[in-house]
Symmetry: C5
Subunit: 326 residues, 5 copies
């Protein structure tokens, strides 16, 4: 699906009299220095993408990658254009889960093509923000690359904030006195953190290259801006490592607490058992059939025996309470 | 066994009037620029391989390696030819197991020799695909190297998809309420993932060299294609790391759940024991031989005692149910 | 909030007749070689920081970073100025916790701007120390950068000393014979050590650059001083690794001891149970209703039975004591 | 002990009329280009080694190392000679253990000196093989270095095959239903694998240097041969990592299975206990002394009670069997 | 405290007519090429060290480091002198503990100053050895640096030998059938190994620099000697890694054995309980009050019942023995 296609000149969107899919007509208008076309696609069909590829001379391998949408984040340079793949992340509250999408971006001297896959990776707001900021847009395709990267990486931060909340909840749960089986949640969270890691870490290399001005199609003056994105990625990477390591530690603590609880339970059970077993012994003694057992003839023998049982149990109770077994 | 041997010219298979094993005759026909011979061997005997080695001046160390078939993936350059070793992988559904084969590949200016070991590493379809794509075949031996690598690496993806399914099954099993002893399956799967890792990881270095055009016998224009293979390997490496780490986490969760279950069992057993032991105490009390025990003379003393037992047990039952011990 | 702003000339604070926020007036006085202005801000409002940025031509991205105060330690070079971010750490005794603040520092040829966030990151004493040491202050902004770094890194050492005490306490607790549930404390401490690590480790790279004289605005003669700071950071990093690894080992030992204690408890409980169950069997035997049981008719049958119970229990007691079960 | 000393010329052993320890006489005969002396020593005394050192101008530090025999594998270059240390490994079937020896090798332009320590590191067969292969021997001392390295590294492969068998045995044992305490064997095997690792890994660096022709005394044409040795070492390193990681996983599985077994045992024991405790309660009930208990007067009361006990126990048995507790 | 101060010329100690603390007088005598002064200090006061610093133009930062004695091993170059910090280690038999000291060493063209902290780091014997070896001493300050390093690193080897013995003891203890709580000892030993590691590992970098002749004040000819020290450090590092990893494995085995023992205990306890509980059931049965129980009237009913109990218990005993539960 073609979401939007437009020509930009001196930071302004220029109306061109053509259908959105008449890319060559659109590109033919980009005659001035700094003019460029931005085509936005969402889950394009093979045909749509082929049209775009033909109009902008995209490398077939990059086009194939853009169609499949199961790439690692990466930056590749073909003769006269860039191909950048980013993973988009968002947090689905209803399911407490992280979902991933993908943006593939082609950038040449006079064009940018963005190909989105998956829900939540919208670029409309990034385009609007750019269109309202003429100063940045005048920098050409590089500005769009920056805007997309910035928007995607901002999304990472939001997801990590949510995951931080989840880790805090697990932490509270693990150290609460309640019996909780946190291993399942920890497992799921570790899996999600691994997914975030796979989106964040490989993107640092492309951003580093942009920041150091090592990429042809991107203005070296844009370096500090990409360095800013890289800073965010580095900070995200730190957060990811920290969350993962906290989860591991929390898991170990969880296991240790299970053992401690089992120990406590065992001692409580044993103490409880003693409260029943010792009176049973007393009852057994007075159930013996000896002919000469003075207590049996007492008028108050029976209440005495019951009292003895209660007294012994009460004594054991106090003893266990004092020693912490109950 | 000689599977196939043919001469290729301008991307076309050329019929040469000779027996498959008359390699020198075949090679003598490769007179034009870009002509090359492709010999395919399957588990060759020492004699067969020696014939080939003599006809194409292969280095004895490489020939020895090609015969033994227990190599690590590697790329080696001898004076005027390349020697590439790849591990092939396939998943045997019947046994839920990964099996490995090996392809050794010699490439010179006018020849490619492929030596296969193990089931499942067939190259026939790769040859057919190539023969139907004249454009690629015109690139000479390098095209064959690419076609073989691409085909082998595609196979890795399939195997990883199957292993992903296995890991998902284990995950489900670990977190199911049923008592499952997953450690054996996790162990076996970890072993298989290690095997896949040993095939995938060392192959990245040769692909990187091809992608960067650092290898003589391979056309630098083929770089993007080998970069594509390298991308797949990198993605496979990510998947492998992820599966392995998921398995480790799942294993830990498995152990934690055993502890939780033991805890639950212990509490259930203790509660169950209380339901028997307390009535036993009551029976013991009324089994005492005191002369003066009023209840013993009651007309309904016996039903009363039975009722008392049932009532106490029922009370305990409710208590344990409420506190989650039963 | 503007904490202080002053002009320094030849290592002396020069009184300038202006309000603290008249930065441009102040800067205009810095006409001699080596003159510089030092502005100290604490949690500045966006407006205050914008004023400063305008007066000293600070890069907008750096200003944005200085405002937000959730940065990683880093050093960035903009055309004619440096931007350095440091994390400050201090130990709150009341809560046994580490808190973090942040100092952002801009340094140009004739100015230093320090922006503090969070309690405890005071720079007043650093400024006083510097003002009393004319020799150092004559080195210009670089001297202030050093003084700030030195002061902050000294703070790290203090925090690590406190954490060392905490780890020692945990160690004592883990290996004490008392039953302690140390996993919570170990978890919290690991979390704090991770926080310290995130402050200390990334700062080494900027200090290394200063030490090697790779930074424009800093006098290469200051190298040994920054190398001294770097040495402290390296030593801190060693201590952090060591504490973290000690905690992990202590945690494992904690878990092992829980198991050992459970084992001990189980044996004690079993031995205790035997002391009750065996006499119960004896009572049961003499409770049997056989017509011909000679003991039942004995005059001293009952005391004999009681004695037998005591004797058997005492025998078991000795046995268990000897074998270490009680 | 001097094992052998000989002069080689054009790949042939040349008889020189002197005693084995007359090294200088022997060396004096090595006048032609390519001539060299090979002296083989086994656990030499300090005096013997000093003689050799004097005759061949060996560096005192290298001589000291060769005498002590507790070196890491390493390659060192002294002005005009090489000093190479290798660890030899062999598997002692009787003890299921790996033993280590050491070979120190000095190589100059016209001599090779091999100093062996420990059983099993024999070089006699390597010498015989070399002497029967004139083509290789003509390459001078470098050929001997290769032959020794090749022979030693072949030994590593044999040892690893044996260790593989041991790991397979442990794997079978861990996952067998029998109760096995495998931790001791796993520990011992891990220790032996660590020993093999210490022999194999550091040797890769010297082999890499030889393979890349970076070492003066060794013919660059020998590169592929040393690369072959290096390949073996790399493959050995892979196997070592794999075995070690399998052992760790097996150990974890072992621990998990202990827990599972304990769980099973606990349930079995509890079920067994129920089969005894419940009849005891019934016996207790009919042991009560109520005056009005109709069953007591029944003619078949006693068999009825026994039957009741058996029936209840049988019912429990079926119940436990069904629920998997027995 | 000034331990010794002397002038060396051509490898000989030269008597100078001055007090030990008249450093400038002493230094003034070092007029010939190769002459140098060696001052040995032990826990110097700030004043003593200041005197020395003034006489030999030492850098204040290095002097501060030398005074405090809590440095990491490091090598620093100030304009015309070296500053080397080494950690000394020794094993205190009485406490089975490793203690650390520190040696700080300044080396200039005509002086060496050694500053020792902590017991056991004596240098007297190193000085004596050097003074008796004129050949080495003629190499000047570099020779002293080597002698000190060599002596300190020899000490590491001794400490590691003792730790090896400790690890062997723990290993024996872990796998002995006795119940041992080894976690405390393993913890302490891991802590000590970490301390040794912190002394050994950072020293490798300075030694590497000396070995490669990258340090101005040290004769490049001394390279092989420092390489020898570096070899020792590398070997020590291997041993440290190995000991640490053995301890970890031993700890895991320790935990596994606790579980196995608990399992064994539980089975033994259960079997023991059965031997008491089953006879109790029999006693309960013959304690029932049925009017028609033929056995009760038997002349030998009582002995029969006792025999039955014994027989059943004996049967169970045999059963448990056979199945390994007792």
């Amino acid at each position: 699906m073609i979401v939007d296609s437009a020509l930009y000149r001196k930071g302004q969107r220029v109306e061109v009299d053509c259908f959105p899919h008449e890319f060559e007509k659109l590109r033919a208008e980009a005659t001035d220095e700094g003019d460029f076309v931005w085509v936005g696609l969402y889950k394009p069909s093979e045909g749509e993408l082929d049209d775009v590829a033909k109009s902008f001379d995209l490398h077939p391998l990059a086009v194939e990658d853009a169609l499949k949408a199961h790439q690692r984040p990466k930056l590749e340079r073909y003769h006269d254009s860039l191909f950048l793949t980013l993973k988009t992340l968002w947090y689905v509250d209803a399911e407490d889960a992280v979902e991933t999408g993908e943006i593939n971006l082609f950038a040449g001297q006079d064009f940018v093509i963005t190909v989105r896959h998956g829900r939540g990776s919208e670029l409309h707001s990034a385009r609007s923000r750019l269109e309202s900021d003429t100063a940045i847009l005048t920098h050409g395709p590089g500005a769009v690359v920056y805007a997309v990267c910035d928007s995607v990486v901002d999304g990472y931060g939001d997801v990590l904030d949510e995951l931080q909340v989840d880790v805090d909840e697990i932490e509270t749960s693990v150290f609460s006195p309640a019996r909780t089986d946190d291993s399942n949640r920890i497992y799921v969270l570790k899996r999600e953190i691994a997914e975030v890691r796979r989106a964040v870490l490989p993107l640092r290399e492309p951003m580093r290259k942009f920041a150091e001005g090592m990429v042809d199609r991107v203005d070296p003056d844009a370096g500090p801006f990409f360095r800013d994105v890289l800073d965010h990625l580095n900070q995200d990477a730190d957060v990811i490592d920290n969350l993962d390591s906290l989860l591991s530690t929390a898991f170990n603590a969880h296991v240790a607490r299970i053992s401690v609880q089992q120990n406590d339970d065992m001692r409580k059970i044993s103490a409880g058992a003693a409260l029943v077993v010792v009176p049973t012994l007393i009852a057994g003694i007075y159930g013996m059939n000896f002919e000469h057992m003075p207590e049996l003839g007492w008028q108050l023998g029976y209440p005495f025996a019951l009292l003895l049982m209660v007294a012994v149990s009460a004594g054991l109770w106090v003893l266990f309470k004092k020693s912490g077994w109950l």
